[in-house]
Amino acid sequence: MSVVTDRRTVANGRNPLPVSLKQARLPRWTPPVLALVAVGAGCGIGLAAGLDSTIQWGLIAALLFIAGSFVLSAAVEGVRQAKDRLATSLVWVAFLLAVVPLASLLWETVARGSKVLDGYFLSHSMGTLPDAMPGGGIYHAIIGTLEQVGLATLIAAPVGLLTAIYLVEYGRGRLAKAVTFFVDVMTGIPSIVAGLFVLSVWILILGFGPSGFAGSMALAILMMPVVVRSTEEMLKLVPNELREASLALGVPKWRTILKVVLPTSIGGITTGVMLAIARITGETAPVLLLVWGAKTINNNPFEDAQQSLPLYVFQQWQQGSEASYDRAWAAALVLIAFVMILNLVARGIARWKAPQHAGR
């Protein structure tokens, strides 16, 4: 294929290297066409062999595509190019492999969830409705989730913020190191373990009953390290010149932190806290252990069992009737929407505040 095959020898007498610039290439349309062929063949083989799961069809198509592009490229373009193509097709297949279930998750939730989701569903509790009957709603669960998450945030956000301030602005020495280390450890606590801890102290030892507040304490434990980490990152981004400028004017340190450091990083800190809230909103396990769930509205988070959205989804799934499945999907849709909106707003704040950071 090459026009110039000027092979020369390296000075040490060995290793002739080809220096032609031209290289036989597969045409640009090869990968998409090959992909189509592979999908077609995958479906064909699947049909012919009577495989009833579409997952298998997809896997066969993916394997055919990967192998086909490698062989074709190795024959035409050489081994190096073939390896490059192999990597490219693997990466594409990995991407598609992941997109399919994640898209299906969202699609199923929206499609099945919108069936019973309406104003009535949002504004009523389950009351005395039998589980197998259609009807009922999630009002009590929304109330419970809002109260539990709100209380958890009230506990975790200040503690997390102040800890981060301590670590960044004051922290040196052994205590700071210990705190940093244990924040890392705390990040890895499984949510059910946090629930068990509160269960052991609050319920088994102190003898309190289940309540929204008990759940909030477990959620707060899960939230604290997340807040500390994100706030720490944000505080570290504040340039030291700002602190020094303020201190040099004779402003006391605590006022420097309150008036200079925190306002500079407030956007990022807010984002971090909101993302942490979004994360604990979906937690089910500790709520299951500590709040128990209820069918009716309980506005008081400090006494008696409450409901929460994720727990509602779980309990409706457990009922196992068509009507309760519908309710579970609808509640899951509300939950996802809530978490997504929190995420979007949080990231919006981060983006909106970002240029200011850059400008400083």
């Binding site: 390296v10 040490n12 290297l17 220096v19 610039l21 031209k22 290289q23 190096r80």
Partner: protein
Amino acid sequence: MAKRIDVSGLSAYYGGHKAIDDISMTIEPRTVTAFIGPSGCGKSTFLRTLNRMHEVTPGGRVEGKVMLDDENLYGSGVDPVAVRRTVGMVFQRPNPFPTMSIFDNVAAGLRLNGSYKKNELKDIVEKSLKGANLWNEVKDRLNKPGSGLSGGQQQRLCIARAIAVEPQVLLMDEPCSALDPISTLAIEDLIGELKERFTIVIVTHNMQQAARVSDRTAFFNLAAVGQPGKLIEIDETERIFSNPSVQATEDYISGRFG
């Protein structure tokens, strides 16, 4: 086996922005050609079009012809990977692979292009390090990470890595701008030796350096901010620095702007 570069009517773009406009020049084999000019005049961009590195920048696009002897780098069917194999490059900041040892850094390009016996590889690495005047300093620690070297040594390591694959042309993008004067001198001496074997093109901000190391000098300038850079003139270095034919060149060289 150095080659001649013949550029005609070359323009380069970043997305919609035209960075250099309609450049034509000839670079003779086994010479050192220096590109000088004020910041932003497109001399680095132009350098990167000579081994098709410009197009790896998002939005990068090139029009025109670059002939390497009788092959057009931008001709159809030309593989940019093969172009970069043939036209080596040394960057502004030394960039040895941080996870590789000194030996592996030099051998990196060779390993891509074929399989070598251990002894062959050793010989080529030694020869390249000697060629980059680095052998004596590192021969006892070839298995240590390349990032442990000083800046000047790292840059010579990068030169060794580039020449190990025996390219036709060596492009250098301000290779000394991150180095101290002594390391700079070492690199300049090295350039003098390397031009025996390679066609060398060097971008520099330092006019003394251009005067010291190059045979020919090209002066680039841009009409105004936002305008594309242009080649003002290219001539024997001596002439450029003593008696340039364009007024702007003289103004730049005598320090009136830039």
